[in-house]
Amino acid sequence: MSHIFTLNNIDVDYGDKKVLSGIFLNIPEGIFVIVGPSGSGKTTLLRLLNRMLSPSSGEILYKGHSLFDYPVRELRRKVGMVFQKPILFDGTVGNNISFAAPDISDDDIKSLLEQVGLPKDYIKHRSDELSVGEAQRVCLARTLSTKPDVLLLDEPTSALDPTAVKTIEKLLWEFSEKITLIWVTHIVEQAIRLDGNGAMLYNGNIHWQGKTKHLHETEDEIVEKFIRGDLKK
């Protein structure tokens, strides 16, 4: 199995506070879930992968090369990110997508909208008239417009209602055939449903690694507490 990211002994410090400590992690292609309670360092770890944040020490490899070997803007287009809260720019849905990919044609925008389950005529819709679920899909289409190899998903369904959560999960799961998805969530059930490889973070350390569908079977006090919802930061 080829690794898309390799993290070697990564530390992230904010002043005196250690947010990530001695992280060793291989992230394979496909779907990879980073799960853990709030404040465990999941988003920090995710933000290292498109260099929105730099580690205090350690090395990160992307496709076998140091992350720092890639020009940062090129890397960010190849390692796209979808944020927890859908943030759209002023203007139309089409404007939002063509901002990310200035050379994109209207037909390609429509095709992207269809891929994320939105009607083609949404290209003309004003971005401030969309529901949260629709806005998140537009954010996904916007990120996909840069033709990324990897999608970093920072709790992408946390602002959505249960129906929209299922739709987005299904949609993204289908994308994992073509694009590596690195999905951060604090919801155990979601991690299990996503049925990929994964790691559990707790207090800035990796506490568990394996197939997320086996999370329930893990005989580890911390994991059990987390599954029961008794684990605090």
């Binding site: 498109n50 260099r51 929105m52 944040l53 730099s54 940062v72 803007r73 090129e74 890397l75 960010r76 287009r77 796209g80 990110m81 944020f83 809260k85 943030i87 720019f89 901002f99 990310a100 954010c139 916007r142 990120t143 840069t146």
Partner: protein, 252 residues
């Protein structure tokens, strides 16, 4: 010719403010005394300094005086920009560039002659206006970047440059900083009598001559703050990003 007795009698105005503060329990007495004493000492000192510089009529003295005034203005403006890493070089560059452009244009159009009695007051007016604009620009830039943090990060994550990611914030900071200047020019002569014109009329110049000069000053007040605003934003936004094009807020 005014005497120091005239100045002394003008303390009546200060006494009025002092009395109102006492009777209304505003507790501004200390500030009133401080403002009165400071303005007296500062202006008298500057007055003698200007008398010396005007008498010497040497370009080095003039430039030194303008430079010191610019340093003080830039330092004051930078003090307002809390939360921005090393703001002083930015405000200094903005104000120096504004003065240089203003002086070059005024001299080359022969609107003023290269004498300290023209250059120093003109520089003072440019500094006063650009200082204010630089302060507002820096504050608006800082607040705008903090308010738009999420949007800026989304743009960076899409592979856009920090400059493009901050462009809306930069525009907004410039607009907000320049609008008060434009408004003050719009109402010139209607709501307030501009300082240069008032001074010239008091000194015995013809009102029309004074107004012509004031109009030039007004146009200067439109142009030079715009230079200050563009310099502050173009240099200032970079302070919020590190060399890896990551947004860095609260680096003071």
């Amino acid at each position: 010719m005014l005497t120091y007795w005239d100045v002394l009698f003008s303390l009546t105005f200060v006494a009025i403010a002092f009395g109102i503060s006492l009777s209304e329990k505003l507790r501004l007495e200390r500030d009133i005394i401080e403002a009165t004493v400071r303005s007296f000492v500062q202006l008298i000192a500057v007055g003698y300094l200007l008398k010396f510089i005007f008498a010497e009529n040497h370009i080095l003295w003039t430039i030194s005086m303008i430079f010191v005034m610019t340093l003080i203005g830039a330092y004051t403006s930078a003090g307002r920009a809390k939360g921005i890493f090393r703001p002083f070089p930015i405000t200094l560059t903005a104000m120096m560039l504004s003065i240089i452009v203003a002086v070059i244009i005024l001299l080359s159009l022969r609107i003023i002659s290269p004498k300290p009695m023209y250059l120093i007051p003109i520089a003072g007016m440019v500094i006063g206006n650009t200082m204010n604009t630089a302060s507002i620009t820096m504050i608006r830039l800082r607040d705008g970047i903090a308010d738009n943090r999420e949007k800026i990060e989304v743009m960076l994550a899409l592979g856009k440059s920090p400059k493009l990611a901050s462009s809306n914030t930069i525009k907004s900071a410039m607009r907000l900083a320049l609008i008060p200047r434009l408004d003050s020019v719009k109402v010139a002569g209607v709501i307030h009598m501009p300082g240069a014109m008032t001074g010239m009329i008091l000194a015995g110049a013809s009102p029309i001559q004074a107004i012509k000069f004031q109009i030039i000053i007004m146009y200067l007040i439109i142009g030079t703050p715009a230079i200050a605003a563009i310099v502050c934003t173009r240099l200032g936004y970079k302070r919020f990003f590190n060399k890896y094009e990551q947004l860095v807020i609260n680096r003071t």
